[in-house]
């Protein structure tokens, strides 16, 4: 039964090896999808290339279905899985800021790394910028500490917040995802500049 690391099946060092391998797969798929190229990513925001949306949601629903079915079969203990803590206001503002940076810079942190190693100069510059931005954040941290912790709600999940079972939430998400895929295809036909 998983997660194996938290069950103590292997040490932290083995975990690092797994991290490396996971990263290889992560980077590989990102590059395969074309996420190493800022323009392809950015065209998402002009409805011309919906790859970002498709890949993201396919990945989310795949992992989500996997987690829920695994837990159903008793293969994994979901209570041991790390759940990103919710800091509502920090994440709303942070999300908006990050979105602005995404549209201007054309990358997000993960894809910029893929972009940089495949030779995109804008990706390398973007990483420099991100490092600088994080440094600035640390420096002004005392000033924005209240914002950083605003809206703290702990490790809360959608099913807990809405008090609906995870299965139903998952179904709603799947339904919305398929809707977005179909809508995305339609938008690409309408605004897309090149035949995919």
């Amino acid at each position: 039964m998983g997660p194996f690391y938290k069950m103590g099946f292997f040490s932290e060092q083995t975990g690092f090896v797994i991290a490396l391998l996971t990263g290889v797969a992560f980077g590989f798929w990102l590059e395969r999808a074309g996420f190493g190229q800022s323009r392809k990513l950015a065209l998402q925001f002009y409805f011309r290339d919906m790859t970002v949306l498709k890949v993201m949601f396919t990945a989310i629903v795949t992992a989500m279905i996997g987690l829920l079915y695994f837990s159903l079969f008793g293969w994994i203990d979901l209570s041991l899985i790390y759940i990103n803590p919710t800091f509502l206001w920090a994440q709303i503002i942070g999300g908006l800021v990050l979105g602005i940076g995404f549209a201007i810079g054309g990358y997000c942190p993960g894809t910029s790394v893929v972009g940089a190693v495949t030779g995109r100069i804008d990706g390398m510059i973007f990483i420099l910028g991100a490092l600088l931005g994080m440094f600035v954040f640390g420096e002004i941290f005392p000033l924005i500490e209240n914002l950083y912790t605003a809206g703290a709600m702990g490790n809360i999940t959608l099913p807990e917040y809405f008090n609906i079972s995870s299965g139903i939430i998952a179904f709603i998400i799947l339904f919305a995802a398929v809707g977005m895929f179909v809508g995305g295809e339609w938008l690409e036909k309408k605004f897309g500049e090149e035949e995919a």
Binding site: P3, F4, K6, F16, A19, L20, T22, G23, V24, A25, G27, W29, L30, E31, R32, A33, G34, R39, L43, Y46, M56, A59, T62, A63, M64, L80, Y82, N84, L88, Q91, G95, L96, L98, G99, I100, G101, A103, I104, G105, C108, P109, T111, V113, V114, G115, V117, T118, I121, D122, F126, A130, L131, G133, M134, F135, V136, G138, F141, N155, I173
Partner: protein, 167 residues
């Protein structure tokens, strides 16, 4: 070598999802990227001003062994994986990704500025698109979903102003 076409986004998405699922199954955690950058940042700072990192409440969180972390190894893997895939597809070359209507120099200024803004946003939200939107999305974390919607909202709202850069 001719550049090969990108993979179908659905296939790549399933691959990405399975990678994430494997990470959950093995480690009990998802993927990430910006955390590794933060650690690299602190590592750099440690070399020049270690007392400064120790006295700053935020840097201090990362100050002890900043590079001995799961995410750091993962991001090294991302570099290898991205490079491999790019090499296999013949997509390795030094270029600047941009639309046809912007100069190289301006594009790089935009990349730097966008990076700075993103760096701050990622730290404020405690994650980026991979660590918070993807991972939080799959684990149905409330914050992850709120964050994801806000990222798209922020990006779509800004897109019009920087359209010269991309289209």
């Amino acid at each position: 070598m001719k550049e090969s076409k990108f993979m179908s986004p659905y296939v790549a998405g399933v691959g990405l999802g399975l990678t994430m699922l494997a990470a959950f199954m093995l480690m009990g955690r998802g993927l990430g990227a910006s955390g590794a950058m933060m650690r690299f940042d602190v590592w750099l700072l440690n070399m020049f001003a270690s007392t400064h990192t120790a006295s700053n409440a935020y840097f201090a969180k990362y100050a002890a062994n900043p590079l001995s972390n799961w995410l750091v190894f993962e991001i090294i893997g991302v570099m290898i994986g991205g490079f491999l895939s790019g090499a296999l597809a013949g997509r390795l070359k030094f270029v600047i990704g941009k639309g046809p209507r912007i100069s190289n120099r301006n594009r790089l200024y935009f990349a730097l500025g966008g990076g700075i803004i993103m760096g701050m946003g990622a730290r404020l939200a405690r994650g980026c698109t991979s660590g918070l939107a993807l991972t939080g999305g799959a684990t149905l974390s409330l914050g992850g979903w709120v964050f994801m919607l806000c990222v798209f909202a922020g990006a779509y709202a800004t897109a019009w102003f920087v359209r010269k850069q991309w289209i």
